[in-house]
């Protein structure tokens, strides 16, 4: 997936747990849990959803690296499998 597609995946996952949020109003550089008033269960649901859509494994210690929208997209872009058998 390219950057835009990953961006859309994250937005979709976020609006699933916070349906009242206007995607256009999300500040890409502000902490998502504070900004959207979501809790750890919501955030876990977002990450599970993103994992299912992208196949990217997200170890628990990396959760802080997905704290903002920009960070999350950058993390996924760097971590996503690049074709079968080549994800190292």
């Amino acid at each position: 997936m390219n950057e835009q597609e990953l961006h859309d995946v994250v937005i979709r996952a976020l609006t699933e747990v916070a349906p009242d949020v206007d995607p256009a109003a999300i500040d890409p550089q502000t902490d998502l849990t504070d900004q959207l008033d979501i809790d750890s269960i919501d955030f876990l649901n977002v990450l599970v959803n993103v994992h299912e859509q992208t196949g990217v494994e997200i170890p628990e210690r990396d959760y802080p690296k997905l704290a903002t929208l920009d960070d999350a997209v950058a993390y996924l872009l760097a971590a996503q499998p690049r074709g079968a058998g080549t994800d190292a």
Binding site: V17, D37, D39, S40, I41, N45, H51, E60, R61
Partner: protein, 393 residues
């Protein structure tokens, strides 16, 4: 119209999920009801055949109104119509007793526990019962529970009715919910002599164990600290009967199981506190998946009636917002509310040394009519003890 929580006085029947002639079994969802708080899926508590729907969709009726009549037995039998339980249910009347392993096996094998007869203690469903049912063995359907008590006996007095507000508009719902919460909490503060206790708990072991455990788990199966706190609270409640139950008719009625109410804040304001059933006998995995499911459905407005009416003790976890402790207000007719604050790194003295440790402050608000500080203190100590042995939760 069942009472879906002590703060409910009436409900609007939104949708029937059954029609006359449909066979139903205990636990089936038969209707969706709109309370002031949420849309709730209403289960039926006996087996039979739907005879007549008495309340049309879109109608608002008081708690206690008969919604439909149900014939006992199968369609071929002589009909003996009797009203669907409509009076407020005794909270523990329709609970399924099943061991955690039995629940897990039932889930794996796709067996509906409501249709399994338990052979264990007090009719509890065992693993063997589930396997028996899955193998297609003739398993008699669990008998329907006794007819519900009339509204006047055993049920708590309803709180003052909030002004009738048509549900539908978000603003109306938010207002109605605020009024319902206000009425219930005012009743709690008016009637319940609360006493409060608090203790600080070192979470080092619990969090270290959790991090290690999560390393080996796929993301969808990872545990959150909340699951450990809920499990510890549920087990401590099971060991402290004076805190787990209901104050009804000037007397304390202990509950049979621990159905842990979990306070869940809703987007746009307000909160609900539905139950995780048999939380003291659930594994951490079951609690975690139950919690995720409950939070998701609570916020989507799709809870079930038994979840709303069953809690025997409630936990509120305000740590997510960063506060250090919460002194809760008890949900009548329950007699205790457990609070957890944020897990914060704090200086902690141990064996003459001071170090930085993750600390959570656990609190208890309890009803002095049902228990004393001694029992409450024992309860918080038990929570602490459980959290020092996370591998046993």
């Amino acid at each position: 119209m069942p009472s879906l929580g002590a703060d409910m006085t009436s409900g609007t029947l939104l949708e029937w999920r059954v029609k006359p002639g449909d066979a139903v079994k205990r636990g089936d969802i038969v209707a969706v009801v709109d309370t002031s708080k949420a849309e709730i899926e209403v289960e039926i508590f006996e087996d039979g055949v739907i005879d007549e729907l008495l309340v049309p969709e879109g109608t608002r009726v008081p708690v206690g109104t008969a919604l439909a009549t149900v014939r006992a037995g199968t369609e071929d039998e002589v009909p003996s119509a009797r009203p669907v339980p409509a009076a407020p249910q005794p909270p523990e009347a329709h609970r399924l007793r099943a061991s955690p392993i039995a629940r897990r096996v039932a889930q794996q094998l796709g067996v509906d526990l409501a249709a399994v007869t338990g052979s264990g203690a007090a009719g509890a469903i065992t693993k063997a019962d589930v396997e028996h049912a899955a193998a297609g063995a003739v398993t008699p359907v669990a008998p329907a529970p006794a007819a519900p008590a009339p509204a006047a006996s055993g049920a708590p007095a309803p709180p003052p009715a909030p002004p009738a507000t048509p549900a539908g508009e978000p603003g109306d719902r938010a207002l109605a919910m605020r009024q319902a919460i206000g009425a219930l909490m005012a009743r709690s503060k008016r009637e319940i002599p609360h006493y409060y206790l608090q203790t600080q708990i070192d979470m080092s072991r619990a969090l270290a164990w959790l991090a290690e455990e999560n390393l080996n788990r796929p993301i969808a199966e990872r545990l959150l600290p909340s699951a450990l706190l809920l499990s510890a609270a549920a087990r401590a409640a099971a060991a402290t009967p004076a805190l787990n139950g209901f104050w009804v008719d000037e007397a304390f009625r202990p509950a049979e199981g621990v159905h842990l109410g979990v306070a869940i804040s809703l987007r746009g304001g307000g909160l609900v506190a539905p139950a995780l059933h048999d939380a003291d006998r659930s594994s951490l995995d079951e609690l975690m998946s139950g919690l995720r499911d409950l939070v998701t459905r609570a916020r989507a407005g799709r809870l079930r009636g038994s979840e709303m009416s069953d809690p025997t003790i409630t936990v509120t976890n305000l740590g997510e917002q960063g506060v250090e402790l919460v002194h809760g207000v008890i949900y009548p007719p329950q007699v205790a509310l457990v609070g957890f604050g944020a897990v914060l790194e704090r200086p902690w003295a141990l064996e003459g040394m001071i170090g930085a440790r993750p600390i959570v402050t656990a609190t208890l608000a309890a009803d002095h009519r049902a228990s004393d500080g001694h029992a409450g203190s024992r309860f918080l100590t038990l929570i602490d003890r459980q959290l020092q042995k996370p591998e046993e939760l």
